[in-house]
């Protein structure tokens, strides 16, 4: 036998032996570091929107397999929840991929052009910071992995404190800001830009209540060429992806190459989707993120955003209590005719026609420019510059067809900005985190819980016990079992 008889490598797959050998390899590795954004975006609404007063769920008594999702909404979730574990895993997959790139970049034996290296380092660090920011807000202080794991012993770090994680996030975003390219508006690729880094770093400072540090960053974003679409709904149209109002969004495309999104199929009622999406498909995983009466009541009269955000699906129940949808109608001034069952759904991510079942190209927004304007307004108001805040706030209100706000009392302006964020950013996964960030989660959601329990007989008395311990989610049970150095967050 030949000497290499026992040296076999997979022929159908790349392996570490033949990768990380060129600039292109590293650029492909950076692409791979974006992919986990989708793992998080696909399920984040259960934790970030459904837990808030914006969304509930369409109770499905025929299939209780979604109980874990419901428990997130009802504050009955525990450390074995599948969604919280998936998000945790998704964030760490992203972190691991960024760590691999940064570590292996140190060891390259070929020459890489400076411009390429800057862009690779910048995007990679921004993504790592983004994933850690997602983790720290949802799980508190987590293990701080900053290097590639190559063997099991490196996989069992203890938790760092939230402060340590935030320090790393700020350091990474600061590095990224110096390295990544400025946005090339009007049309972007979907990659990390200076606009994204400045916005998210400002968001980090706001979360730490360091509003003064956020202001210059946000102001820099206003000079990068971003602007609002004339119509609110245009911001969500597929033809306007990554365009002038978009700071950062998670990318999808339809087709059979595995890059599609399915958001709308999670948000519409279960049953055949022919009369909703135009494609006959038996949706068994819908009915989530159901707009609440509480949110509907929060819209000011004539707010143009209502029709763009929420729609109505009419239908009936058949003898088997299966919902049979008949058509979609506008929510504006809607009253259900007798004999018709009306269900709400999120319209932001609904842009037919579709070509394939359970397969859409809808992106998921992370930051839009209107959010930057509202963040800036909030920071100015919190730092005693309420008058300066108004123009930014009113840009958003004006587009929505609402009268400008004139209040300059910070205490009065604060809830007005918060309310504006709730409406403008509804179903974009900001509501729950905003409530926690602004210390409103306990009063708002306790009151909301009382109403909701009265409305739905199936909710247990123990539900909606909103305490400070519930501001973060538990570390997944699996992690605790596999890493004895971890300690569960109090209250779980």
């Amino acid at each position: 036998c030949k000497k290499d008889f026992l040296e076999l490598f997979p022929e159908g797959q790349m392996n570490e032996g033949n990768f990380y050998k060129s600039t292109v390899d590293f650029q492909q590795a950076v692409v791979g570091a974006y992919t986990p954004l989708r793992d998080v975006a696909n399920i984040a609404f259960y934790m970030d929107e459904m837990r808030s007063d914006n969304a509930h769920y369409d109770y499905n008594s025929k299939d209780r397999g979604g109980l874990g999702y419901e428990q997130l909404a009802d504050f009955l979730d525990n450390s074995q929840n599948g969604v919280t574990a998936t998000r945790y895993q998704g964030d760490y997959n992203g972190i691991s991929r960024t760590n691999v790139i940064l570590d292996r970049l140190e060891k390259i034996t070929f020459t890489m052009a400076d411009a390429d290296r800057k862009q690779i380092v910048g995007e990679t660090k921004a993504l790592r910071a983004h994933y850690y920011f997602d983790l720290v807000r949802h799980y508190g202080g987590v293990p701080l992995h900053l290097h590639e794991v190559t063997e099991k012993s490196q996989a069992t770090l203890p938790r760092s404190t939230a402060e340590q994680v935030y320090a790393q996030i700020i350091a990474d975003f600061t590095d990224a800001l110096a390295n990544v390219a400025a946005p090339k508006l009007p049309q972007e690729t979907g990659r990390v830009t200076k606009g994204m880094v400045a916005t998210e770093l400002a968001h980090v400072y706001m979360t730490l209540k360091q509003f003064d540090k956020a202001i210059p960053l946000l102001q820099s974003v206003t000079t990068m060429g971003y602007s609002l679409w004339a119509n609110y709904e245009d911001a969500f149209k597929n033809e306007n992806k990554n365009n002038k109002e978009s700071i950062f969004e998670v990318q999808y495309k339809d087709g059979t190459d595995g890059q599609s999104s399915t958001f709308i199929y999670r948000f519409i009622p279960n049953g055949n989707t022919l009369n909703i999406t135009g494609i006959s498909y038996n949706d068994t995983n819908g009915g989530w993120n159901y707009p609440t009466d509480d949110l509907l009541a929060a819209y000011e009269p004539n707010d143009k955003r209502l029709d763009a955000t929420i729609g109505v699906i009419e239908g009936t129940y058949n003898a088997n209590t299966d919902f049979v949808a008949s058509k979609i109608v506008s929510i504006v001034n809607y009253k259900a005719p007798t004999g018709v069952i009306a269900k709400y759904f999120i319209r932001k991510y609904f842009h037919p026609p579709y070509l394939l079942a359970n397969n859409t190209k809808e992106n998921w927004p992370i930051y839009r420019y209107s959010n930057v304007l509202l963040m800036l307004a909030e920071c100015l108001n919190e730092t005693g510059q309420s008058a300066a805040a108004l123009p930014y706030l009113n840009q958003v209100r004006t587009r929505a067809g609402l009268a400008a706000t004139t209040t300059i009392d910070p205490a009065l302006l604060r809830p007005i900005i918060a309310h504006e964020r709730r409406i403008e950013l509804a179903f974009e996964n900001h509501r729950w985190l905003d409530l926690v960030r602004t210390d409103q989660a306990i009063p708002v959601l306790t009151a909301y819980g009382i109403k909701t329990k009265a409305q739905f007989g199936y909710i247990l008395p123990a539900a909606y016990n909103v305490t400070a311990a519930r501001f973060i989610y538990p570390i997944p049970f699996r992690e605790l079992q596999l890493n004895t150095a971890l300690v569960q967050s109090p209250g779980y």
């Binding site: 026992l6 076999l8 088997n320």
Partner: protein, 995 residues
């Protein structure tokens, strides 16, 4: 002394037919002959000469020539004979000389068993070999385990070696009719010559060869019918009971939850359930899915042997229809074994055995959680299986139930066919270089081509996603080649009382498999089941390979035939392991002492033989899949500018230090014969320490990966094996009994970081392997009744979702609340002992046999109870669920919780209610035969028999099959019953005809 011509006939004492090819010799001379086709012989001898009659498989017989010139002899076939030749690693040996734990089984003894798989024949025959029928799927049911749970997740199946060739594909493609004998090698001393693949034991299969001087034509056939017994069928509600339950369910929802029917807007029980009395038994879905099914086999063997050429050819057709409708398998097999001996110094052989198997739907989603069989069981008994016009109702849920398709329709519509072609072939040449120095070279190939095509029509549906659906098709195919080259030198040396046997060998094996998957979807209609008709087609191809290169050697030594020593060594290199640890060395040594040969041992017929033997050795396991030593870079594509962007990332973490799992095993054995060898007793004790067991261990998600292949921990396994074979009667009535029993146990001594394996997920994670315990113990909550009233509720530990009347689990960790930290060990899925008892009785031309086997001490977790005890009003469920809590005044039997929304999940988690004793005793086979001795011309003999297989199962396990183990080979998830394919009783009639 006057020489005279002696004539005579040699017959078999069993069936009185003439035995051709028997060697007849005048003792002490060169004079000899062999019998002809009818068993007749002629030779010249003198009065007083002793004639010896020898024939393979029969006792040596000696007759003294008297006055008569006719010497007729009847030869007795051997049973448990010390002279019997047993096939061992790279050779054969007399039973008395073997120093390891080896059990031989002659296939002849098993011919009454109608079986698709060789495993069905071996059940209960070999101490220490656990063969379970884990599933009734035709051709796929059997699992083997030598000496208990040997491995974690890298397979427990022993290495199967057919005529010296370690095979790589499916063992069940080997035709049971072609097998002459099995040798089961259990201890390290016996298996170490197979080195890195020997940790789970080795089964050597010898196929039928022609005998010199004997030409035979045999035809064997049987035909049987298979039926599923009533015992063990699911105890679920009939229509009346189910409607009554559902009526109460909605009454409670109205009472406790303010429920209103969304269809009518009224707070009243839905119409389906308002009047349960109108329903009778309703539909028994389980029964609808089953049928009585035939099984049949036809085997023709033609063999002929001369001094120079031995040739055996056989042709077999086997067909087993499944007891689940629309399922079944067929197998066509051919085997040709040929050996040429042009001179006494040279020998060549060519063997080829093609097999073609057609699996019709037996590879489909028939069983398992909410697949067809269980799906049918949870369907509403209120819905008829068929409409009055013969069509299928397409949904089988009543009001408010889970979305269920008609599983009878799904079964009848199923189109999933797998065609497998397998060719085993080998050629060898053997030459005597010098006296007693022989060189043998062999080249073996194992070729397989598997093609599976499935089509889901527009009526296809599954639980949760009933049809109609968009038609789709999948085509999976793969072909593999495995070639093995072996070169072996052997030398025999005898110096006085010292006998030496040397063996040295070199082998290289290469395995390569290409595989393809093509998916087709969006068919215009149901008329074209091939992907050619699909609008959308995607496909991929890939390949995998492994190599192994080995050197091995053996020395056998005996002194005066009573002191025996055997030493083996093998060195293997494998492509599967990391750079730093490619090679492993596996030595073993064993010794035997035949005490009964010693002069001090009292010569007595009552205690006729005594041997003690002991062995120690190291073996390995390399069953870890290919390429796990390397971190793999997988496609992680993304989208930029609305177009696909190629992304690549490390998606699986490799382990460059990965190496063999090694076992060190000690075996001590005792062999005793009593009463002129009529009773034969073998006892073995073994103790095995396995280090660095190969396992895909979970690691924290925080690493960016979910698992890594690792050499984890240390495990101890030990056990006792006893077998007794007895010739009870030898006269007119002949009666033989074989009994064996084996005790196996294991303990986890250490694990990586002592992190337990398994038991972390909410659902479908029902076993845990932890330090200080046995491998794969069942794991979950301990059910403790229900909170019968407010006072019980207030005073006892609660879960976050608990309410009065809901399930109470034991607060195992005593922290005052019930959560995932209260899961605990619920039982050992491995039996404490297993046993087999076989009896054969012959009287004149009648024969009768009965074989029984069983096991004791294992626990089974019926994971289907997550469906049958689901209290959400969405499935048909167990009758016992009627005794549920309704109110403090009507608390039921205190063992079944209420149906209150959002409280029922805890009761659906794996818990002690699902765990049952798996003890069983099964009457495997009863058969009775009659042999016709006066047969028409051209026939030599004919036997017909009647057999009942799986005649009766004695067990307390309420499920269908106490041998169930749905995770099959994965010991870390053992002991689960997901509702697998039922094992039928088979009644068959068969014939063995010799021409």
């Amino acid at each position: 002394q006057q020489s005279m011509k002696i004539t005579g006939k040699v017959t078999s004492s069993e069936d009185r037919t003439g035995l051709p090819g028997v060697s007849v010799k005048v003792k002490g001379t060169q004079v000899g002959t062999v019998t002809d086709g009818a068993g007749a012989y002629t030779l010249t001898a003198a009065k007083g000469n002793v004639l010896t009659f020898s024939y393979v498989g029969y006792d040596l017989y000696e007759a003294t020539v008297g006055e008569s010139s006719t010497v007729n002899v009847s030869l007795k076939s051997k049973s448990a004979d010390l002279q019997e030749v047993v096939v061992v690693s790279y050779g054969s040996s007399r039973q008395r000389d073997i120093t390891g734990a080896v059990t031989k089984v002659n296939a002849e003894d098993l011919q009454n068993l109608p079986a698709a798989e060789i495993g069905q024949k071996l059940t209960g025959r070999v101490p220490g070999l656990q063969v379970n029928q884990a599933s009734g799927r035709p051709g796929q049911g059997m699992t083997f385990r030598v000496r208990g749970a040997a491995s974690l997740g890298s397979g427990n199946q022993p290495l199967i070696v057919v005529d010296g060739q370690p095979i790589t594909g499916d063992v069940n493609l080997i035709n049971p009719d072609d097998i002459e004998s099995f040798s089961v090698l259990k201890d390290a001393a016996s298996t170490a010559l197979y080195g890195s693949r020997a940790a789970n034991g080795v089964i050597l299969i010898t196929t039928k060869q022609a005998k010199s001087g004997r030409s035979t034509i045999n035809f064997n056939t049987y035909y049987g019918t298979q039926t599923v017994l009533q015992r063990g069928r699911p105890d679920i509600m009939n229509a009346n009971e189910f409607a009554t339950f559902m009526k109460g369910y909605y009454e409670d929802r109205i009472k406790y939850e303010n429920w209103k029917n969304p269809v009518t807007g009224l707070a009243e029980v839905p119409a389906d359930y308002q009047n349960p009395a109108q329903y009778g038994e309703g539909t028994d879905w389980y029964n609808e899915l089953l049928r009585t099914a035939p099984i049949q086999n036809y085997n023709l063997n033609i063999s002929s042997g001369t001094d120079k050429v031995l040739s055996s050819n056989s042709l077999t057709y086997f067909k087993q229809d499944g007891v689940l409708r629309n399922t079944g398998m067929q197998r066509f097999s051919f085997r040709s074994n040929n050996q040429y001996t042009p001179s006494s110094k040279v020998k060549f052989g060519f063997n080829i055995a093609p097999t073609y198997q057609i699996d019709n739907n037996t590879r489909g989603n028939l069983d398992g959680n909410r697949q067809i069989l269980v799906g049918g069981e949870i369907s509403s008994p209120l819905i008829p299986a068929r409409n009055a016009d013969g069509s299928y109702p397409t949904r089988t849920g009543s009001y408010g139930m889970f979305a269920l398709p008609n599983f009878l329709q799904q079964l009848d519509l199923m189109k999933n066919k797998q065609n497998s072609l397998r060719i085993l072939a080998n050629a060898f040449g053997e030459i005597e270089l010098l006296k007693d120095l022989r060189f043998r070279t062999t080249i073996n190939t194992d070729l397989g081509a598997i093609d599976q095509n499935s089509f889901n029509s527009s009526n296809y549906g599954t639980a949760g996603a009933p049809g109609p659906s968009i038609p789709s098709a999948v085509s999976n195919s793969n072909n593999y080649t495995s070639w093995l080259s072996e070169n072996i030198l052997t030398y025999k040396l005898t110096k006085g009382d010292h006998n030496f046997d040397f063996l040295a060998g070199y082998s290289a094996q290469k395995y390569n498999r290409n595989f393809r998957t093509i998916n087709g979807s969006v068919f215009p209609n149901d008329n074209i089941p091939w992907i050619a008709g699909a609008a959308t087609t995607t496909g991929t191809t890939n390949n995998t390979a492994w190599d192994i290169a080995s050197m091995f050697g053996r020395i056998n030594y005996d002194y005066k035939g009573k002191y025996l020593i055997s030493a083996n060594i093998r060195r293997d290199g494998s492509s599967r392991f990391g750079k730093n640890s490619k090679y492993g060395t596996f030595p073993s040594i064993s010794a035997g002492w035949i005490i009964s040969e010693e002069s001090f041992f009292p010569k007595s017929d009552n205690f006729s033989f005594l041997k003690i033997r002991g062995g120690y050795g190291k073996t390995g396991n390399n069953n870890i899949g290919d390429y796990t030593q390397t971190s793999l870079v997988g496609q992680t594509n993304y989208v930029f500018s609305s177009a696909l962007a190629q992304g690549l990332s490390i998606t699986s973490l490799g382990n460059p230090d990965l190496t063999w799992e090694t076992s060190k095993q000690t075996d001590i054995g005792l062999e005793m014969n009593f009463f002129k060898n009529r009773i034969n007793v073998t006892y073995d004790y073994y103790n095995k320490l396995t280090n660095g067991m190969l396992y895909l261990i979970s690691i924290p998600y925080a690493s960016g990966y979910s698992s890594i292949r690792y050499n984890v921990g240390e495990f101890k396994m030990w056990g006792h094996e006893l077998s007794i074979n007895s010739t009870n009667l030898t006269g007119e009535v002949k009666w033989n009994t074989g009994f064996n029993i084996s005790f196996n146990d294991n303990k986890v001594l250490s694990l990586q970081d002592n992190t337990p394996i398994g038991g972390t997920a909410t659902y479908n994670d029902y076993n845990r392997t932890a330090v200080g315990r046995r491998i794969g113990e069942l794991f979950g909550y301990v059910f403790d009744g229900v909170y019968k009233n407010q006072q019980e509720f207030d005073s006892q530990p609660k879960h976050a979702t608990s309410a009065v009347g809901t399930a109470r689990m034991k607060d195992i960790n005593g922290d005052g609340k019930i959560d995932q930290n209260d899961k605990t060990f619920l039982g050992n899925p491995n039996p404490k002992f297993l046993f087999g008892l076989n009896n054969d009785i012959r009287y004149k031309n009648f024969d009768f046999s009965i074989s029984v086997s069983g096991q004791v001490g294992n626990k089974i977790m019926n994971t289907n109870l997550q469906n049958f005890q689901n209290l959400d009003g969405i499935f048909n469920i167990e009758k016992s669920m009627m005794n549920r809590w309704r109110s403090p005044e009507n608390p039921g039997n205190g063992q079944v919780p209420r149906t209150l929304s959002n409280t029922t999940e805890l009761y659906r988690f794996g818990n002690s209610n699902w765990v049952f004793s798996g003890d069983y005793l099964t009457i495997r086979n009863i058969s009775a035969g009659y042999t016709f001795t006066s047969v028409p011309k051209y026939f030599k003999s004919a036997r017909i028999y009647l057999a009942v297989n799986q005649a009766y199962v004695f067990t307390k396990y309420p499920g269908q099959n106490p041998e169930v183990n749905d995770s099959r080979d994965n010991q870390t998830t053992a002991g689960q019953d997901n509702g697998s394919y039922p094992v039928p009783r088979t009644i068959s009639i068969g014939a063995n005809i010799n021409f």
